[in-house]
Amino acid sequence: MSYTITALLGLAGALVVDLVVLRTRLVLGRVFWATYSIVFVFQLLFNGLLTGRGVVTYDPAAILGVRIVYAPVEDLVFGLALVLLTLSLWAWWGRRETAT
């Protein structure tokens, strides 16, 4: 499986967690997207730095080859999945603590 496929599966998994498993439904609200737009700018910066300087190198066969600020577009999908899973869990634990 290529990074393209695993990144999309990761995003799908994070969406299922947010919408179905934990039902935090962050992707339906504006707080998440406002947060993500800030994180996105920093991701382009730091991801571009790591990729541009060659700290991490990708197998050309594992990615589409579409790059934004040096980083493969798959990294952006990976990052979205990481941030969504994190914030969904954060919101879920917050809700549980408030409920008890």
Partner: protein, 112 residues
């Protein structure tokens, strides 16, 4: 110094967000138990993904730009830290947005 490149990028990333705790009083680090419970599953899932991707040859790290501390699965220490630093920054940003805008998150809407 070159072997500290990745670690340095992570430190700058953390510094770019950590000021929100004292300045906006977002109270993320204060809720350290909730933060730990959030981080644990995220770290487990993404470290597993990373180890599998490294094994599959999807990506690799420049030995000259990492500390050289390698965890099982050929995982550089920096990668483990990445999956702690980035989620912490994301939660700080999330609570920063809530503090500044006063917008409720979806989970709060359910409570009413």
């Amino acid at each position: 110094m070159r072997h500290l490149t990745y670690l340095g990028v992570l430190a700058v990333c953390l510094l770019a967000a950590i000021w929100l705790e004292p300045v906006l009083r977002v109270g993320v680090l204060r809720q350290w138990r909730r933060l730990l419970k959030t981080l644990l599953p995220v770290v487990l899932v993404f470290v597993a993904w990373d180890i599998l991707a490294i094994a599959a040859g999807h990506w690799w790290y420049d030995p000259g730009q990492v500390t050289g501390v390698t965890l099982p699965g050929r995982l550089p220490l920096e990668e483990l830290l990445f999956f702690v630093v980035v989620p912490v920054c994301a939660v700080l940003a999330f609570e920063g947005v809530r503090t500044v805008t006063g917008w409720p998150a979806e989970d709060e809407r359910d409570r009413r």
